[in-house]
């Protein structure tokens, strides 16, 4: 059952669902860019499958966000008719896809995070979110296995693959802190047992990620003085605008287009 949500909780939940939905939507779009460009056919299909899962999560989460907002916006309205400053995804997912090693490193860092988060959200007091999380969690298990195996293949592969994966990890590392930020929005939902405490999930993520990095003969990147932040408040890198220009072109140019 949907508990009755009072004003502040409802508002925080709307923003939170956009954050989760936007992460999935933007990462799904980045992955879909590999379609037709994968290193070989089976991997091309694998990346398209992962993209499809994320688009499915995005659709469910944004549909729910629209219901919570109560202004009649659908998942499509939220995906295609918001501008950059109204998106709440982390910077990690909006960075250009880079080379294959970069995509794999990002998939690994993000899917371990998402797998832990959705595992925790399965017990959210907000039932509709718990249901979506249970479904997504099953699918993310495949994602973690897929990217973890690639981490080993590339890390323990050739000198070139090892070098490229290490380079990608070094760049991406400073974007991971944003995944675990706790702000007032999250605190409202933590107090209502709707969302988990991200600060408590961080040590689990760190252990899992670092042990794979080390087993794959890679080095844990050094902490950088710079740390990406702002995505959860609508502040983004220049890359998101370019992505949206492509993703939103059709519905903006032809607002009522139908298949």
């Amino acid at each position: 059952m949907e508990p009755t949500l009072e004003g502040t909780v409802r508002k925080a939940l709307f923003v939170y669902l956009l954050r989760l939905g936007d992460d999935a939507l933007i990462l799904g779009h980045r992955l879909s860019e590999w379609c037709g460009h994968g290193p070989y056919l089976e991997e091309d299909i694998a990346l398209a499958n992962l993209a499809l899962d994320y688009l499915g999560h995005a659709e469910a989460l944004l549909t729910l966000a629209g219901e919570i907002e109560g202004a009649g916006r659908t998942a499509d309205d939220l995906a295609f008719r918001r501008d950059v400053l109204e998106f709440y995804n982390v910077h990690l997912v909006e960075l250009p896809r880079g080379d294959f090693a970069f995509t794999i490193a990002r998939q690994f860092l993000f899917s371990v995070y998402a797998h832990l988060l959705f595992a925790a959200l399965r017990t959210s007091r907000f039932q509709p979110l718990a249901g979506i999380a249970a479904k997504a969690h099953k699918e993310l298990t495949y994602h973690v296995r897929h990217s973890r195996t690639w981490m080993h293949c590339l890390g323990e592969g050739t000198e070139e693959s090892h070098y490229r994966l290490q380079r990608a990890l070094n760049v991406l590392w400073e974007y991971t802190g944003e995944l675990f930020e706790v702000d007032d929005t999250l605190r409202v939902l933590m107090a209502s047992s709707i969302a988990p405490d991200m600060a408590a999930l961080y040590p689990q993520w760190k252990i899992q990620v670092e042990s794979v990095i080390q087993q794959a003969t890679l080095s844990i990147p050094e902490a950088s003085p710079y740390r990406a932040t702002g995505g959860r408040r609508g502040h983004h890198t220049e890359h998101l605008g370019h992505l949206l220009a492509e993703m939103q072109f059709l519905p903006r140019a032809y607002p009522d287009a139908k298949w």
């Binding site: 089976e42 694998a46 499958n49 994320y54 249901g131 979506i132 479904k135």
Partner: protein, 173 residues
């Protein structure tokens, strides 16, 4: 004409059993286990369905087919709701559905997903490639996994060494 529709829930389910899965046209949506609840109220019927995978692109076609077929039965208003509570599992597939899949050339998932072998993430680089998934054509267990990801989110690609046929396996979940 009576006010309201005189159909029972069981009769509505029989009608819904005529809706085929667009990706696997030998299976209908009832035996696949994606129809979760039917609520009847006069001329209105509400059908709850759950997707096999979150991003299953067939779900929209299925929703439209449900609306069409129930309107033909005289329901004025057909509401299709997508629900996620209790994620779909292949355990809900009927035995008949599994047999139909096999006859269609798709290896069905085991009756209990919990007992299914884990797929190999990247078989190209793995020394272990064999999994005990029997070939739907010749029933041999001399099969190997080509890829954990196939043409749809619910299927993986396999190859049978005995009859030299590639085939699809409906992933246990």
């Amino acid at each position: 004409m009576l006010s309201g529709n005189a159909m029972t829930t069981a009769e509505v389910l029989n009608v819904l059993a005529e809706v085929q899965d667009p990706e696997i046209p030998v299976l209908n949506i009832v035996e696949l286990g994606i129809v979760r609840h039917v609520h009847l109220e006069g001329d209105t019927v509400q059908v709850e369905i759950t997707p096999t995978y979150s991003g299953c692109p067939a779900i929209q076609a299925i929703e439209e087919a449900i609306v069409r077929i129930l309107q033909q039965q005289g329901f004025q208003q057909v509401i299709v709701r997508k629900v996620f509570q209790e994620p779909w599992t292949t355990d809900w597939m009927t035995e008949e559905a599994r047999n139909k899949l096999r006859a269609y050339g798709i290896a069905p998932p085991p009756a209990h997903a919990a007992t299914a072998p884990d797929l190999i993430p990247l078989p190209v680089f793995s020394s272990v490639q064999t999994l005990p998934i029997p070939c739907p054509f010749c029933n041999s267990e001399q099969t190997r996994q080509i890829s954990a990801f196939g043409a749809t989110a619910c299927k993986a690609l396999f190859f049978c060494e005995a009859c030299r046929q590639p085939f699809e396996y409906f992933k246990a979940t």
